[in-house]
């Protein structure tokens, strides 16, 4: 009788699912605003000013939203990239996994520390 080893994939899959859903619900609008409308001046200048963004990031809800977006987008993406590496012939293993999930961890930590440093 074969012994099946329980995979820890659900942890990463849930993060993948959360990030995929959040990026679907808000991703295009976020890119449009921060990457195109504001820089091109199509929204009133000062929409993303330091003062307003600081206030937003210091607000508990704003901080949580920014953190959720950065963290979930990152963990969603690296999980897919890890799987895609396999599709391209780079087989699953500790080194590819470390590169992928490690990057997400770095992004999460930098984001978290920055948001904490900004304070409340």
């Amino acid at each position: 009788m074969k012994q099946w080893k329980r995979s820890n994939a659900p942890i990463f899959w849930v993060l993948f699912g959360g990030g995929g859903t959040l990026s679907s619900l808000f991703g295009p609008a976020l890119i449009l605003v921060t990457g195109l409308l504001v820089p091109l001046g199509l929204l009133a200048s000062g929409t993303m000013s330091y003062a307003r963004m600081l206030a937003f990031a210091q607000n508990f809800i704003g901080k949580a939203f920014i953190f959720a977006v950065i963290m979930l987008f990152a963990w969603h993406a690296v999980h897919r990239i890890y799987k895609s590496l396999h599709d391209f012939g780079i087989h699953p293993g500790p080194l590819p996994a470390l590169c992928c999930y490690g990057s997400a961890m770095v992004i999460t930590l930098v984001g978290a520390f920055s948001l904490l440093r900004i304070g409340f």
């Binding site: 990026s23 890119i31 921060t34 977006v69 993406a77 990239i81 520390f113 900004i118």
Partner: protein, 139 residues
């Protein structure tokens, strides 16, 4: 007796290579493009990460990040990200119904295509809502 087993001695199964499998069918090519959109999600997360990092480093640093966003390179980059992100949204709701159990409403099976349409409508609503919020809160 040896005649019974003689057949297996001549077996030499041939394994065909998988290299380049994703080029073999348009279905696979589309799948790979779907997965490539993950890069856009990652790169945007990094852009935002740098943004909050600069925000935590003070006004000068943050204004530097804002200025960089205004460069032509950044504009083109974000246009590409936007296209990729929209394709991600569409393909996300193509796959998402497969994770749901068999649903029935009014005695009839709720088709995956219906769930997909619902998801896309929800995404359009939430994205427009965010745009409306930003517009409504403009200085």
């Amino acid at each position: 007796m040896s005649k019974l087993t003689a057949g297996t001695a001549n077996r030499k199964p041939f394994k065909r290579p998988m290299a380049g499998w994703y080029k073999r069918d348009p279905f696979f090519v589309r799948y790979m493009w779907r997965e490539v959109t993950a890069l856009a999600v990652l790169l945007y997360a990094i852009v935002l990460m740098v943004g909050v990092l600069r925000l935590s480093q003070g006004e000068a640093a943050f204004n530097g990040w804002l200025a960089a966003l205004g460069s032509p390179l950044s504009i083109v980059f974000h246009l590409v990200l936007l296209v990729a992100m929209v394709y991600h949204v569409y393909t996300w709701f193509e796959v998402m119904p497969k994770t749901m159990p068999l649903l029935y409403a009014g005695g009839k099976r709720v088709a995956d295509a219906t769930i997909m349409r619902g998801g896309i409508v929800a995404a359009i609503v939430t994205n427009l809502a965010l745009l409306a919020l930003v517009w409504g809160m403009r200085p």
